[in-house]
């Protein structure tokens, strides 16, 4: 990415313009990542709806709670799910109304409440979770274990790289 000797004029110019030719490739990479994720996500949503009559956000919230038997606060859930605060409020209300999730008050902080799965919620989630895991395995089945491992590693680099890029932004 740096043919420096010879004539540096072009490189300087394009660098300053901020959109060197090679960046089309980044765009293609991004669009491919996005369509990959969308493809899988759409199918998972469809199956959750058809086979369990639920939705992905509800499943995701329950998955968070399943990992933490002691419960989680709404704020923690919203950070883990990378969604807004108000979103979790509505989602939680609906799950509580359906008897899948229960609220518990914090011992000393009256602002805070913990959410956890009810026994029934735990049962329901186990069924959904097992199916979900099978679906994912099925969708990735054609990719070799070696390639899956490589992909996992590369995505990890992208994730931390993006996090890093966003860290030094506005503060």
């Amino acid at each position: 990415m740096s043919p420096d000797d010879g004539r540096a004029a072009v490189d300087l110019e394009t660098a300053l313009a901020g959109t060197p030719a090679g960046h089309k490739e980044d765009l293609r990479l991004w669009l491919r990542m996005l369509s990959c994720a969308t493809l899988i996500e759409t199918e998972i949503r469809r199956r959750l709806r058809e086979q369990f009559g639920t939705t992905l956000p509800r499943f995701d919230l329950m998955a968070q709670l399943d990992r933490e038997p002691d419960g989680l606060t709404l704020g923690r859930i919203s950070r883990r799910m990378m969604v807004s605060n108000g979103n979790v409020t509505a989602l939680a209300a609906s799950l509580v109304a359906d008897g899948l999730v229960q609220r518990r008050a914090h011992a000393t902080d009256r602002r805070t409440q913990f959410l956890s799965l009810t026994p029934h919620g735990r049962l329901v989630f186990e069924l959904q979770s097992a199916a979900h895991e099978r679906w994912i395995a099925e969708l990735f089945a054609s990719v070799s274990p070696r390639d899956r491992a490589a992909l996992h590693r590369l995505l990890g680099m992208v994730k931390s790289g993006v996090r890093q890029a966003l860290k030094g932004e506005s503060p």
Copy 2:
């Protein structure tokens, strides 16, 4: 869970349950891909809103039209964007109302209409598009070109693999 007295019993059991141990890795891979995409997408949405007062779906629709100066039908757009038909109807109406997109009737098929960018829409999109390309390049900057290429290739395999898996489903 299962306290295994013997040896092979566990493997058999878990295999028959349809959720072999190794499939947790697929789950992790999927969650990482999803959070990667979400991370980037959220940031792009934020910048489109703050810097251009627009949204990602509007930008995406205009991007489709920008690539096809002759125009596209609503159906084609919805398939390319991987969203529902009704979604495009609403999105198009809003863009037409804003003078960014125009409709044109099909010569012989009265059901069909073509959408294309207006001159003003083309101008606006060029600005947004250039910024968008810079943002993506910026977010991927910390990943080496070699790794980006590898990632692109692997995601291509996943995409076609998933498409294949979904093809032999219900039909």
